[in-house]
Amino acid sequence: MKTLKLAFIIGAISLTALSASAETFRWASKTDPQTMDPHAVNSAPVLSFLNNIYEGLVRRNKGMSIEGSLAQSWAPLNGENGWRFNLRQGVTFQNGSTFNSEDVLFSYERASSEVADVRSWFAPVKEVRAVDDYTIDFITNAPNPLFPDSIANFMILDKDWAEANGAELPARDAENFATMNVNGTGPFTLASRDPGIKTVLVSNSNWWGKVEHNITSAVFTPIGNSATGLAALLSGEIDFIQPIPLQDVGQVESRDGFKVLEGEETRVIMFGFGHEHEKLLYSSDVTGANPFQDVRVRQAAAHAIDIASIDRVLFRGKIDGASQLVPAGISGYSETNSSRPAYDPERSKALLSEAGYPNGFSFGLKCPNDRYINDEALCRAAASMFAAVGLKAELNTVPVREYWPQLRKDAFDMYLLGWSPGTFDIEHPIRFLMSTPNSEKKLGSWNFGGYSNQRVDELLPDIQQEIDPVARQTMVDEVVGITQAEVAYIPLYTQPLIWAAKENVNLTQRADNFFMLRWVTVD
């Protein structure tokens, strides 16, 4: 009897010990992931969230470089363009079925299908072959050193599960089983999903990887209103929120038990010009011409911007000036072109006079007001800096849902843009922002101003295919040099990342603004 009682007490103690280490972690962000289907929407809220549930062949580590995930190793193919991935054995999906190359092949077909929003990742792929159960080859049209990097968010789902539930293809304008249900191999799995209200994840006890977190369940709540989100953190109802507005940093820091996590996103904020426009659309004094076609005028605009003041007044000293369309640390960043145009209003005025506009001119500046941190305030500040040298900007700000359609309709003389390279390589902005727009080759699709330089277009395919890093960097340096000399864009700064959490929460802030539960510990 006594032993029984003792056993009971020990059992009770170990039970309490267990529940003490069992943590429920609550976090909030602005946007709810639109779907649980990893191939349906190529947007950061979805991919970031689903990276906790699904896994790819490779993944990004804390420092953003590629490491093995469902693939243990990979290497370029011999005698053929492409890559061979050797898959991890003994991995099971959350429903217990075994992972093998068939699932990779199926996921590739699903993700590259016409209705998948992520199919652009597979544009260079010609064919995919499952060599055996744990070996798979991706054959590309040309040598493609970037391919493993470009599929870090390509998530693998279970073939049998998808087929059994009628989710062979991602759903685009209706829901299917994969919109609300998951079956991945990742460290967490879905316990409940209430779109727009609450999504609960629980730790996957059968996960193959080394567990670094101590969370048993994680509750995600989207909170659209920043003030509400901050209040929820400060009242202790949530443990972590991403992002918080810059002006709230002081309030969080001044309270005991909370901390602010600061970092830099990989997003560079820049101004773009209507290079292609024959005349200004929103000018009251220049008709029939577009002064921005003159490089001196673009240089004048670049020298008129005082990044130090913008940093001090709008960003509380949290930004770094940018010299090119990617921040330092991204692969391909051009060290030889790392200086940005100095703030020099006198030089701006001289350049404008030289170009034939001694008194300056007026033009339309278009900006979003809900897309980037302080975007509207930034444009106001820039407009007054431009005005100081004679460039009279008529500012027009619109919500992002109208912004892109207006840029596509060329309704701007100058515009604001932020760009984060999905592949974490400079090839990405060269392809999307610097190449001459060409819808057939899918080049320059975000090059709204139609910037065009033959040499840049010529170098892009070589940059995409060059395996030797030194030769590749030489070509990249040339492209960056050309676009800087021509002031294709005015890179302004790297956007800061500002998250807030309770003091006892340890987490990793990754530069792509993805939040990984597997690196979270609660003390």
């Binding site: 016409e114 829901e175 727009g196 892109w404 819808s439």
Partner: protein
């Protein structure tokens, strides 16, 4: 009576069609749903194909006819944002909004009627002046500021009440209710007060004005002269006559409370229809926006219909005129 109801129902359908038409014509200007549905790397051909599939290239009138035709058949379509059926999304959110509106209304009545009576009976009292001034301040402050103030005081500083969400709900059939759990009530209190403040002032001032009017009327003066006890006079004779117009107006206002709970829902992340509508605007989720506006129009139409029917039931003269 049946003829009257039928006539009103036919009218109501036209009202809702008109709302749907107006809403739809506005949607041409809210932005592009496709750029919100797809990632930055999606090619234009893929975007164009999606646009074609969703019927966004069709002429406006054709889109409108298709939307209203589907609605009339009970097919509310799928959300562009979550891909869920819109009918399910709205049905999920309706309980939250109705309960919030209902509790806000109760709060405004529980506080508004007694203070209205008090300020009418003691028009020159010091307390009356205080009440009138504070409530005036209450209406002049925007709803979101009141909400954030309440969150800050009771949620962040005192830590008594939750600052967002609905708390625990009890599922009764398809109706998720906050009214049967302590957690639910705790979450409900602050948003309901926020939403009820404006309503409260309105109720109080209406009761006060009506009560003062009634107190001046001949039959009250006469009863006073006959020596009817003041308490009986105030709370039986006067108050009963005060409440008839007040209840009518409050009933009509309830539709407004439901429709304008958007701000309160946003501040408290209250998962009701208003919040859903706001999220839908952000994502240019046209099917949800369209259905929401039609549902809100339906609420208004329904409340008005009930009020009109009550009039008919109360006042026989209306019935005679209707038949003739």
């Amino acid at each position: 009576m049946a003829y009257f109801i039928l006539k009103r129902m036919v009218q109501s359908v036209f009202v809702m069609l008109a709302v749907a038409f107006l809403a739809f014509s506005l949607f041409q200007f809210v932005g592009d749903p496709i750029t919100q549905m797809t990632g930055v790397e999606t090619s234009f051909e893929d975007q164009e194909r999606l646009r074609e599939e969703l019927g966004l290239n069709d002429p406006f009138i054709y889109q409108f006819v298709r939307f209203s035709g589907n609605m009339l058949q009970g097919n509310f379509g799928f959300s562009y944002r979550t891909r869920q059926p819109v009918a399910d999304m709205i049905a999920d959110r309706v309980p939250a909004t109705l309960e919030l509106g209902f509790v806000a209304l109760i709060i405004s009545l529980l506080v508004g009627v007694p203070t209205g009576v008090y300020t009418a009976l003691k028009p020159r009292g010091a307390l009356t002046q205080i009440i009138l001034t504070t409530t005036l301040v209450g209406v002049s402050i925007p709803t979101f500021v009141i909400g954030i103030m309440l969150i800050f005081i009771f949620g962040v500083q005192l830590g008594w009440l939750p600052t967002f969400g609905r708390g625990g709900t009890l599922q009764i059939g398809s109706w998720g209710s906050s009214l049967f759990t302590l957690d639910g009530w705790r979450a409900l209190l602050l948003p309901a007060i926020t939403l009820g403040v404006y309503q409260l002032t309105l109720t109080m001032r209406l009761v006060r004005a009506e009560m003062m009017e009634v107190m001046r009327s001949d039959y009250i003066q006469f009863a006073m002269a006959r020596g009817v006890p003041m308490k009986r006079l105030h709370y039986k004779h006067a108050l009963a006559n005060t409440m008839i117009p007040v209840i009518t107006i409050i009933g009509l206002q309830f539709g407004g409370v439901i429709a304008f709970s958007i701000v309160t829902e946003s501040v408290f992340q209250w998962p009701g229809m208003g919040l859903l509508f706001l999220e839908s605007i952000r994502f240019v989720d046209i099917p949800v926006m369209g259905v929401y506006l039609v549902v809100i129009a339906f609420f208004f139409v329904l409340v008005n219909l009930v009020v009109d029917l009550l009039y008919v039931a109360i006042d026989p003269r209306l019935r005679i005129r209707d038949v003739s």
